[in-house]
Symmetry: D2
Subunit: 392 residues, 4 copies
């Protein structure tokens, strides 16, 4: 087992850990440790809400979650020799559950705390608990479904530079300003309340808390990409924006469907992740990897033969309004079509929704040029169901 | 070999075939043949532009293509006993090239005839010719690339009812009306010029030509979905909107990347397709398949181990403007990131663009809830390249 | 479509074709055509028995087959510039059925004409006819089974040198001599009766017919390897033993299980095969490929998620006698275990046997060192069955 | 984490563990614990030689290994309600390394302690140490190779009945008697020296030690099958021969090539395995599973696109003697062909041999009826090599 460079005590909030992590992005959050390229190490992670969700049948904790506290991240890890312009090469060697914590949850967010992809259809909070049986997960709340996990960190990224952070804050502020009174807002701007910033204290804490970006969206540094295929065995190439790269990780998912559509969202879990890091000097320019990370998925994704695939096109299903190549609408319709189908084979709408958000379903942009309709598809592996769900 | 129910003569335009097909959607286009459920049959198809593109090195035919003539379709096939409310079950048994026509083309549309997904970066027409070597394709215009085809009909669908057609026309008219002077328009409204409507003649032709929907977008009837995984061995469930279902097919692609991003778009080819049809009576209500087709992909998709995956987030790359969960923008950025990378390993931007549009690249909606950024990914199988393209 | 370099008329025996092929191995069988490295071409092939088996329900043709006439091969093709010591690189670009001949057969050989792998359990001849539905096969004699073909040439090889041929004949004569009165004999020695030797005539025919090796076993030249994974898209490296290499091909199988255990054996068919050839000068020594061909399988093998796997160990099931690491016995027992199982889910023993010989079942040498038992496994993809066959 | 029902202390031999396991098969070895169907539990296992092999560069420990002490097994586990005639259903939920013991070894056995599959070519002992990096393994003794593990228990089985044990002993004695003076013997007969029999003591120990079967060969009870695909996520159906079934497990392999040809043999490791058990009453007769276990492999086997496949036929390579369908010889020749090839790309013969025994190479019985030659194939995934190993 590689050395554990970041430990978590599940009985305490992130702010009270012996070495606290962070839940905001900022270049000035101090690194917790420095390592050399070539090092293998283990990082322990709390689930993204910092322990607010319980293993029970009551979704009120999902409804009442305090989102100023997310996502609690482990790190940053300072990589010696990494400098702006380099590529940080991160191998995900393995990922697992923390002993005694072999379960996770999926939640549908209520409209009042942000809602989910299908908020207009599912305005209330809901929750399902998933138990891990080695590589498999099942849920007492979604009977008849069992699948192998495609375990991955929902969030892994490097620190932004001051310049990049400023750009993030500027563009997100502008977006919010287009509908300043919207509830929920169009983006989450810096929010000192609930901030955890490692060992920062006092005035420095206050300054950083005011400037630091929220962790919700994926951005140029990677971050909360929620890419289900970024799983065991993957190799990621991150652009480096600050000295030491400052790698952080969290939000481990046992499994997730493409889109993470219930928002809370995959099967969220506490866990550990084993990493190996290396540096390609000057790699950003050499390979043109400047805007976003690039990665190679691992070789052990669960294999499936048979999928049932739902299509969606970009016509608003409520109003019948034609949109122009809106992939967001097309994917929503594919999801709704799948939920409608799964109800005919015995699931409630909520269960169907949570299946799409937790199981290894594939969400694809199939056609994006056939004006005015984008076509998206959602593919469900039929082997995850105990019974035959095909039309006959 | 199953009976050929629709033949094409590649030396003649669709309108002059012994039995002409059609290039518009309308319930009153007469069926070319009627068959019973359980029948296996072959359909021959012309490439979608009706023979306007030549096997040469000059992209002017792509630039000057007459789009009023697309997509030329073979059919409609009337399935005895199929009625509104049923599901038409179509098995794609096999697909192939017409003898003597073992090549296809990919084209980037110029801005003046509609442009492509990345029109702002590629405003000029371009063309690549792809030669088929059994299951493989190569292009003299894109050296060092070879891949197995994931051959599929870009367009397969059933006839709309009058009511459904009216709905299409209304919603697309409304969209166009939002920017009536836009060039190109936001959607292609009914256009009598260039219409081919089977054996219709005279006043009936004129009436239908004025009402019939263009074939460009995918819609509730399937149609131009351009789903690369709808390949050999797939089973499709179509909602039936008119008596006899009236199945039509065309726009065969030897291979395509998700999104068909150059618009013209995949590797476009003449070909044949072997189909088997059946009917599930009352299946629309029974399975809730009412808005769009559902399908099961076939078991012989080319297999790849290793992908290089590019991420994109929904910030406009030209202005830096933050959009709200716009998957269209996120996918564009993933594509642009891939094109930038492929230029560092020796391809021109145009070649890279055409690789993304022809090779079996996977386009995924990875995250669609992490406000304000959608995250899309584009995965390129590295085995399609003769040389190693990974960062080292 | 590439040029057809060898044509067959299915209404005539191989000896009466305009350009006859051959059914023996000998360096002096004249080539039918010469080609340059880099050429793509098509070869048409008759099924291996030269048309003796009919599409009906009567297995008497399998019982009475004249085995002096097998395997009818198309070729030899002379590759310009290929010389002993080189590697002949053959790409299998595609394979298909001849129009109007979209069916094949599987037969259990009766004890009197050689028997099959399980001859002691299946001493009588049996036959199943398989109909091709595009990429799929079904049989009226084996209901409830449908699978995608893994189409391949059972036999593809280059000509032996005189020296190599002499070695073959010597070693096989010695084997036969160990049990000279055995019926059937332990090997098939040269047999002038039934020989087809291309355009050879007169004394030269007689000489060659007396010397030429039978095509039944695989040998150093490739030949009748019956490797199911040598399918579409494969690349083969053959050692070259004579000037021009003299490539021949035949015995096309629509599908086969590992081992080809009923002996007649796969789904045997008439068909065509598209090939591309190239030469690596001096490749035999450079890569140490001197004893047998080496190949890279193609990327479009049908994919399966779920297999039911049967184990067998090398204890003779009839006598209880322990053998020493005999993989032959271990694989026989795995097959018998599978047949016993399939009988509990509704198949006759003969049907089960033919399923194992035709469907894409995997036969593996799992353990070969754990004295005194070899362990072999046979894996059946469960998706080939219409109904669920798992134990519950 | 499920309850640990069997623990090992790696600093002590199996006989001195607090609760000792066993290294012989006998129905009277007492169970260490009893559980109900439906239970999930963890078992810890020592590597098969009981700790005799060290993590160093000296193969003398492999040469001098005391084979009377193998294989040390954890168990037996008594399953309440399981009776002869039932099927014991065992799910392998997960497998991993013991903390601090993230390495394994491969050894070529010297002729004097039994030799390996290719003993005539590799008569001396050799050893390679493999380090685990999460899901991957590398070896300082075999540079340039890295692969994902297909971790599995080489040995898992249930207790034989007295009657079955007697049959084993009788048939193995008869085999040994055919060459009584052979060194090594053809089989390992009961051997009290080195026996570990759980908590048995005194006269009972002596009786059982004299009767108990060695664990080396796979048999009707499963046992040392060394099936690499019996990995994470598999479900096994064991015939039950004694009350409580008495399940034991050991000999965990991080990875293995088909055949385990170096004999010592895979990547041998200490580890833990999480299991779930259930019972199908009367399942042996119902499903005809009476001679050997049957299993369903798990869904997370590492995926590969490209294999280089070596063929072998059943002609003895040393003498040129033709054998009759001897799959053992055919597989040996395929292995030798592969070793010859790998030497041309930079490996020593010993390294090549150990690659074949440790990496996920596929060994298949491709043709077993084409008299007189069996054809076996060995397929090496090319992605396990850092550099391109294909012929060019």
């Amino acid at each position: 087992m590689p050395d554990v460079l970041f430990r978590v005590d599940l009985s305490k909030p992130m702010a009270e850990q012996d070495v606290p992590g962070h839940n905001r992005w900022h270049p000035d959050i101090p690194a917790v440790v420095s390592i050399n390229p070539g090092t293998e190490f283990r990082i322990e992670c709390k689930e993204w809400t910092d322990g607010q969700i319980q293993n029970n049948d009551d979704p009120s904790d999902v409804r009442d979650v305090d989102l100023t506290r997310v996502h609690v991240l482990s790190g940053p890890i300072y990589v010696n020799g990494a400098e702006p312009g380099d590529l940080l090469v991160v191998d995900i060697l393995d990922i697992g559950a923390l002993p005694g914590s072999e379960w996770g949850y999926n939640g549908i967010f209520a409209r009042e705390n942000g809602g989910s992809f299908l908020v207009d259809y599912f305005p209330e909070a809901a929750k399902s608990i998933w138990d891990f049986h080695g590589i498999y997960a099942t849920s007492r709340h979604v009977p008849g479904v069992r699948f192998a996990g495609l375990i991955h960190p929902g969030l892994i990224g490097v620190a932004p530079s001051h310049e990049l952070l400023d750009r993030w804050n500027a563009r997100e502020r502008e977006l919010v300003a287009t509908q300043p009174d919207r509830v929920p807002p169009l983006a989450n701007l810096p929010e000192p309340r609930g901030a955890v910033l490692g060992t920062l204290k006092g005035a420095e804490f206050d300054r950083v808390a005011k400037e630091a970006a929220r962790t919700v969206p994926p951005r140029e540094n990677g971050g909360n990409c929620d890419i289900k295929n970024l799983s065991k065995g993957s190799r990621i190439y991150f652009p480096v924006f600050v000295k030491g790269a400052k790698l952080s990780v969290g939000d481990i998912h046992f499994s997730q469907g493409d889109g993470e559509i219930t928002f809370c969202g995959a099967i969220e879990m506490n866990g550990w992740i084993d990493l190996h890091v290396d540096v390609i000097k000057g790699g950003m320019a050499k390979y043109g990897i400047v805007s976003n990370p690039v990665f190679i998925p691992g070789p052990v994704e669960p294999r499936y033969t048979e999928y049932l695939v739902f299509e969606g096109v970009s016509v608003d299903e409520r109003t019948g309004t034609q949109t122009y190549l809106d992939a967001h609408v097309a994917y929503r319709r594919a999801c709704l079509n799948a939920i409608q189908y799964l109800q005919t084979v015995g699931y409630t709408a909520e269960q169907a929704y949570m299946i799409l958000s937790t199981a290894p379903v594939e969400g694809r942009i199939s056609g994006i040029v056939d004006i005015p309709n984008a076509c998206c598809t959602l593919a469900i592996p039929t082997a995850i169901f105990e019974k035959d769900i095909l039309p006959r």
